[in-house]
Each structure stands twice: as structure tokens, then as C-alpha cells.
């Protein structure tokens, strides 16, 4: 047994030697395997997007084997009874065939769609994390911009994919896109004619969207994702402040084996969740929608959630059309649809530069900020999230109106007023909350913890005993400097920054001798 192990090892060394002779790998291998990564749950959000992208490539390839991007008319005679004998396009027929005639096709379609939703949802959540912790600041502005571009590429990639089956719902979506295109001054009708090969819907748009959906956009996205991840690697990941952590180091664990195993495990976990969702929840039942017919629509027609924000804005925008009679007008959809989308692309791209301009902070930042320490940014972020959420809600306001028995017109008015008032109010409230939290942190650092012990002084006044966090210095001051990390707020949190109760599902009693000295330091407030 021992001997075999030995031969295995020497075999590996020999193989490594052969490889190194040819490719000179020893140095890079060491650098790669030893690279230190910081560990925090919020650093894993981008991975959800990355791994669902890989899953999208895999499932998309399967679907591509069977999908036919053609608008040629055929008569359906497949397995789905209610559509037998109905005229439809080849694209819709082949999508139905994937769902009903191809073994496992439906589960693949559903995995593809769920992974697409997950991809976009993960980008959003990841983007919020980056925004609220200030991780986009120098030197990482480029990567923030690549991320924004990736979001919008994903947006169009998803919308085009949603349009490909040429069912009733996707045709309705294309119709709205066509209306938006037409609204652009001067070039609108020409742009629309170029897109649809003449009059909407024409006979060519599906094959055009197909080449975008399966080749052009994924290729650009793949390239950008490689650059995005490569930059994280090259610039080294940001980290939270804390004991021993500075702007000039990274504290964490090695890429191999710890980080890589967690990555592989998480990737499989994400794929598992997607596959289980594809088995549990039906998504986009195209057979219910019927083929696209310009005269047919369904109540409750919505785009996928990441487009819903834009659809909500279009629903809420008042009936304002600017006219210079007799021959010039700006249709109402132009503002929320074209200008709104343009601003949602450009403003996030510019945000890091704008913030630099206002804060005049040109330094490099490798330590993250707690949201409370950047109250204006946090307020702005909450404002944008509220704006976005009301937009999304309004994108589905007819479903809300119907299911919760609210007047549709009332929902629209709520959205119109709410989307202006609520974000502004939330900006102010968030700003105040941030300041309050900051103040409390500093109070604790200056005066110590509230112990809950009430004392009465000889004059009869009551006061609460405070436990200072540091030994008094020669002047008797116990004030500590705030260093951007969690300040203990309760007596039983002293001595540990994380909860003392460890373990995820049940608590694990852990001997303290390992981190003992460490902890003393924190208790004494001497870290940093």
C-alpha cells in the first residue's frame, strides 16, 4: 500500500517535470495555487451569475440542437392537442417540439429559462453589494463599468431569448419593442424597418434575433466575463476592514484547496438549485400562449422580471406627447422607453466618476465601506432600489389589481405618485438612519457599552454603568478610533466580532485557545 502511494507520487512529479520542461509552469502554478482570497458570504454573489452563465451555455447548446429559427408557416400536428391543426411559424413549432417531442427537452428549456432569470437576479444582487460597500471605487471603476455593460447585454440577451419561440407573449414583447423603436425621432421608422425587414413582424426577425442570441451577444459576454474575473484576480479582491486587515494586504485563505473547492461546490449547488427548480416549477408555458397573432393578446401580459421595470415606467408615464404640428411629434413611449433606458445605462456607468467628483476622493480603496459610513451613497442606493421596485411592481400592476382586488387606475396613480415621492422620502430616512448608526458606534467607542446596570449616585440621580472598550490612557480617556468595522453593542459580544455562538445549524462549542491572544487584543481595543 505504502509503496504504491510512493510510485503515484513519483509519477506525478515526473509528469509535472515533463510539463514544466515544455511550458515552464512551476512558477505560475505556485503563484496561482497560493493566491490568497478573502472569505465573506457577500463575495460569492457574482459567482451565482458566473455559474448560471456557464449553465446557460450548456443548456442553450442543447436547445440549439433542436430549435429552428424560421418564420416559415407550418401546420402543427404534434402531441399538444389544443394546437393541432393550427397555423404557426417553424420557430414556435420547434419550441413546442422541444417541450413535447424531445426527450427531456422541456426540463432543458425550463433550466435554461430559470438559469436566465437567476443570472439577471444574481447580477442585480451582486451589483447592490458592490454599490453599497463602495467596492466600485478606484482602482476598480473599470470592472464596475464592465459589470454594468454585462447587465445590459444580459438584458437584451434575455429579451431576445424570450422572443425566439414566437409565441403569443414573445410577439407582444417584440411589438412593444417595435413601438419604442418607431418613437425615436427621425430614424424611428427606418430603424424599425431595418430590424423587421420591412413591416412588423415580417418574416426575418426571428433569424436575426437568433444569431444575436446564440452567437454575437454570448461571445461578447463571455469575453467581458473573462476580463471581469481576470481583473478581480489581477487587482486582488477587496476585503472588509478588521483586525490585521489594511489597504495593503489581503487576509483570507489560499486559492487551493480551500477556495477552489468552495467554488466547485457552489457551482454544483447553483446548478442543482436550477435543475430542481426546473423540475418543480413550470416556467413560460408557451403552449398556452398560442402562436403570435397581431390581433391577439392576453390580459396580464408581462415581460420577464428584469424588463418589467422598463415596462412599469412605460405604464406609469403620463399621456404626454410633444407636438409641433403638422409633422413632428414625440410619442409618450419615447421618454420612459428610449430616454429612460438610455439613462439607466449611462448613469450607472458614470456613477464612480460622479462620486469621485463630488467626494474629491481620488485614493485607492481596497477596504470596503460599511453602508452607514457613506450615508449619501447609501441613501442614493436605497432611492434607486425603491424607484426600481415601484417600476417592477407597476410592470405587473394589472396582476396585482386583479389578485388583490384593487382598482387598476388606482394602482397606476399609486405608481405615478409613489415613484416620485417614495424614493425621495426613503433617501432622507436612510440618510438619517446611517447618521444615527454612525453616532451610536462612536458613542460606544467613546464611552463604552451600555451594561444595563443602573446605579444611583449620592444625590439620588440614576445613571447607567458603561463598560469602556479600552484601558484608560494616561489622561484617563478610553476613547477608541472608529476603523470602519463592527463595534460590539452588547456585553456578550465583547471578545468576539462574530457571534460567539458558532455553527450554522447547531452551535459548535469551540475551544478558544487558538484565537485567544487575538481576542484579548480586540477586547483591549488595540487592533489597528
Amino acid at each position: 500500500m505504502k509503496r504504491r502511494k510512493g510510485t503515484n507520487e513519483s509519477l506525478m512529479i515526473k509528469a509535472g517535470g515533463e510539463l514544466d520542461d515544455r511550458f515552464k509552469l512551476a512558477g505560475p502554478t505556485r503563484v496561482l495555487m497560493n493566491k490568497v482570497f478573502p472569505d465573506h458570504w457577500s463575495f460569492l454573489l457574482g459567482e451565482i451569475a458566473l455559474f448560471s452563465f456557464i449553465l446557460l451555455l450548456l443548456t442553450g447548446t442543447f436547445l440549439g440542437l433542436f430549435f429552428e429559427p424560421s418564420m416559415t408557416h407550418v401546420t402543427y400536428d404534434g402531441a399538444y392537442v389544443p394546437l393541432q391543426g393550427i397555423e404557426m411559424s417553424k420557430a414556435y413549432e420547434s419550441s413546442l417540439d422541444i417541450s413535447f417531442e424531445i426527450r427531456g427537452g422541456l426540463v432543458m428549456r425550463q433550466m435554461h429559462h430559470w438559469a436566465a432569470l437567476l443570472f439577471m437576479a444574481a447580477i442585480l444582487v451582486h451589483m447592490l453589494r458592490i454599490f453599497f460597500t463602495g467596492a466600485f471605487r478606484a482602482p476598480r471603476e473599470t470592472n464596475w463599468m464592465i459589470g454594468i455593460v454585462l447587465f445590459w447585454l444580459g438584458f437584451f440577451e434575455g429579451f431576445f431569448g424570450y422572443s425566439l419561440p414566437d409565441d403569443g407573449l414573445s410577439g407582444t414583447g417584440l411589438r412593444i419593442m417595435e413601438g419604442m423603436t418607431e418613437s425615436v425621432p427621425f430614424i424611428g421608422p427606418w430603424a424599425s424597418a431595418a430590424l423587421f425587414g420591412g413591416q412588423f413582424p415580417g418574416t426575418s426577425v426571428i433569424s436575426m434575433l437568433y444569431i444575436f442570441h446564440v452567437f454575437l451577444i454570448p461571445l461578447i459576454m463571455l469575453g467581458l466575463i473573462v476580463v471581469h474575473v481576470g481583473l478581480v484576480f489581477a487587482q486582488k479582491h477587496t476585503q472588509w476592514p478588521g483586525p490585521g486587515r489594511t489597504e495593503h494586504n489581503v487576509v483570507g485563505f489560499r486559492m487551493f484547496p480551500n477556495y477552489i473547492m468552495k467554488q466547485v461546490g457552489f457551482m454544483l449547488f447553483i446548478w442543482g438549485v436550477t435543475a430542481a427548480m426546473a423540475g418543480l416549477f413550470q416556467i413560460n408555458p408557451i403552449w398556452l400562449f398560442g402562436p403570435y397573432d397581431v390581433s391577439v393578446v392576453s390580459s396580464g401580459s408581462q415581460p420577464d422580471f428584469y424588463v418589467m421595470f422598463l415596462d412599469g415606467l412605460i405604464r406609469l408615464f403620463p399621456a404626454w406627447e410633444f407636438r409641433i404640428p403638422p409633422y413632428f411629434s414625440l410619442p409618450p413611449v419615447f421618454w420612459p422607453g428610449v430616454v429612460g433606458m438610455g439613462l439607466s445605462i449611462v448613469l450607472p456607468l458614470l456613477y464612480p466618476a460622479l462620486e469621485r467628483r463630488f467626494t474629491k476622493d481620488r485614493a485607492h480603496h481596497n477596504l470596503l465601506q460599511r453602508p452607514r459610513d457613506a450615508p449619501h451613497r447609501t441613501g442614493l442606493g436605497v432611492m434607486v432600489v425603491a424607484f426600481w421596485l415601484i417600476g417592477v411592481l407597476s410592470g405587473g400592476n394589472d396582476v396585482f389589481a386583479e389578485k388583490f382586488d384593487i382598482s387598476l387606475n388606482a394602482m397606476t396613480w399609486f405608481g405615478r405618485i409613489g415613484i416620485v415621492v417614495i424614493p425621495m422620502a426613503l433617501y432622507y430616512i436612510t440618510y438619517r438612519i446611517c447618521l444615527g448608526l454612525q453616532q451610536h458606534d462612536r458613542e460606544v467607542l467613546a464611552h463604552g457599552l451600555e451594561t444595563g446596570i443602573l446605579m444611583r449616585d449620592p444625590e439620588g440621580r440614576f445613571y447607567e454603568v458603561h463598560q469602556p472598550l479600552a484601558e484608560p490612557d494616561e489622561h484617563g480617556h478610553t476613547e477608541l478610533e472608529y476603523n470602519g468595522w463592527v463595534v460590539p453593542k452588547k456585553m456578550n459580544r465583547v471578545g468576539a466580532l462574530a457571534p460567539t455562538d458558532k455553527g450554522f445549524f447547531k452551535s459548535i462549542e469551540e475551544p478558544t485557545e487558538n484565537g485567544g491572544e487575538h481576542r484579548d487584543e480586540i477586547e483591549a481595543g488595540k487592533h489597528q
Binding site: 389544443p82 391543426g85 437576479a121 468552495k262 408555458p285 398556452l288 390580459s299 382586488d405 382598482s407
Partner: protein, 268 residues
């Protein structure tokens, strides 16, 4: 399954044959009564109808008269005139619990029926007596039996889905009104609704959609809401489309994965 469906179809065929036979008998009997009028039989029938009308009037004057007025003439601002709407409309409104209305609102909501089906028939007879209108054909069951689900689907998408949705889940209309969902609605009620256009629903009388086309639509709707098992999963997410799918990806997908990140990065 296929076998049991076949068996059921066989049953239906036999039932259909029986119904057709009965229908033929009734027609023959009717012809007979036309050609050899029996005063006695005619009177008896008249009496039967009269007594239904009388009973219906009684019910009407206790439960409907406040809003719909004397002799169904309607009351301004409270309830429309009922003259000429026919028994199908009355039976639809009463059997689905929409009438009598509990309170004035944007739209009469469906609910627990207050009257029995027999009482609804009496009310229908009374309103019919005030001025005739449309009625459900007696052979609806046979029509639905022979209907084409595919053609029904096409008609449904052109005429119905804009309000009731692709999947029959209903939808919102302007100012608090809504088109109801279609699951749990009987064939008769679907037919009555199309025929009479209750509330905001447009009328689809026999000249717009022939009884056969209505039967096609009924067959499609029943297939859609009862027989069309969602092949794509254990849960259909209410077939509401992207809005519930978007909720699901956050509430199920993202939250599971967020818990996973907490576990993966948690110290242990």
C-alpha cells in the same frame, strides 16, 4: 389512462346517443302535440309555466325589486332594466351568486348562490315572461361533446384571452372591474355568460359565435382549466406568467443561494 379516457368517451357516446334519442322523442312528441292539439295538455303546460312565473314573481318582489324596480323596469342609479334579457342571463347571475348583489360596487362579485337552481329557474321564467331573451340550448352537453378543442382555442385567443387571460386566470379591467377566472365554472354558466354578456362582458350571441363555436370555446376552456395538467413541473405558479416567475426566482432561487453563501462562507 388512454384506455380509461376511451372508456369515458365510450360512455359519453352512449349517453349522447341516449340524449339524441330522447331529443328525437321530444321532437316527435312535440310535432304530435302540434298536429293533434290537446287542449288539456296545452293547458297543463301553460299552468306549469304560469306557476313558475308566479313563484318567480314572488321571489322577485322580495329580493330584486329594490334595485330592478316594478316589473323589471329598472331603477335609475341602482339597477338596470331586466326586460328582454332572457332567462339565461338571470340564471347565470343568480346561480353564480352575483345576484342579489350585497352592496353596490364597481362590479358584482361571484359568490355563494342565495337561491337554489330551481328558484333561479323560476326567476328566469318570470323575467322571460316580462320580455323574452336568449336561452341556453337543451343539447349543450352534446354540442360540447362533439366540439373541437383546437378551434375553440383559436376562438378563445381571438375573443376571450384579452380579458380572461391565456390560461383562463382572469384579468383586471378599468377602474376596479375585472374579468373573472374561468376555473370551476360550469358549461352552462360559460354558455350563459357568452350569450348574455353579463356586466362589462361583450355579448357573444348566436350570430357572432354559433352555438357550435361556443361549445368549441367551452370545450377548450374546460380542457385548459381542468384537463391540461401542467407538464412542466409540480407547481404551475398559478400560470400568471413572468410576474410569479420573477417572484419565484427571488423567493426560492436567490434566497436558497443566499443561505448557501452564508453557510459556505460561515466560520466553522
Amino acid at each position: 389512462m388512454a384506455a380509461s379516457a376511451k372508456r369515458r368517451r365510450g360512455w359519453r357516446k352512449r349517453l349522447g346517443a341516449l340524449a339524441r334519442f330522447t331529443g328525437a322523442l321530444v321532437i316527435v312528441g312535440g310535432l304530435y302535440s302540434v298536429f293533434s292539439p290537446s287542449l288539456y295538455a296545452q293547458e297543463a303546460e301553460d299552468n306549469a309555466i304560469d306557476s313558475e312565473v308566479v313563484k318567480g314573481e314572488e321571489l322577485y318582489s322580495t329580493s330584486c325589486i329594490t334595485c330592478h324596480g316594478d316589473n323589471g323596469e329598472g331603477v335609475e342609479g341602482r339597477g338596470p332594466s331586466l326586460i328582454g334579457i332572457g332567462s339565461a342571463a338571470v340564471e347565470f347571475q343568480v346561480n353564480t351568486g352575483r345576484m342579489p348583489m350585497a352592496a353596490q360596487g364597481a362590479q358584482a362579485p361571484a359568490g355563494e348562490a342565495v337561491f337554489t337552481e330551481e328558484e333561479a329557474e323560476w326567476l328566469g321564467a318570470y323575467i322571460d315572461y316580462l320580455g323574452g331573451g336568449a336561452a341556453v340550448p337543451d343539447d349543450l352537453e352534446i354540442l360540447v361533446e362533439d366540439a373541437s378543442v383546437g378551434e375553440g382555442g383559436e376562438l378563445y385567443r381571438v375573443n376571450c384571452s384579452s380579458c380572461h387571460g391565456y390560461a383562463g386566470g382572469g384579468g383586471a379591467l378599468s377602474s376596479g372591474a375585472h374579468a373573472p377566472e374561468l376555473s370551476g365554472v360550469t358549461d352552462d354558466e360559460l354558455y350563459q355568460a357568452m350569450l348574455t354578456g353579463p356586466q362589462n362582458m361583450p355579448v357573444f350571441a348566436d350570430n357572432e359565435l354559433t352555438p357550435e363555436q361556443k361549445a368549441d370555446i367551452i370545450a377548450y376552456v374546460q380542457y385548459l382549466v381542468n384537463d391540461d395538467k401542467d407538464p412542466g413541473g409540480v407547481f404551475s405558479l398559478g400560470r400568471y406568467g413572468p410576474s410569479t416567475e420573477g417572484l419565484a426566482i427571488f423567493l426560492v432561487g436567490m434566497s436558497t443561494l443566499l443561505l448557501a453563501t452564508l453557510w459556505i462562507a460561515g466560520k466553522s
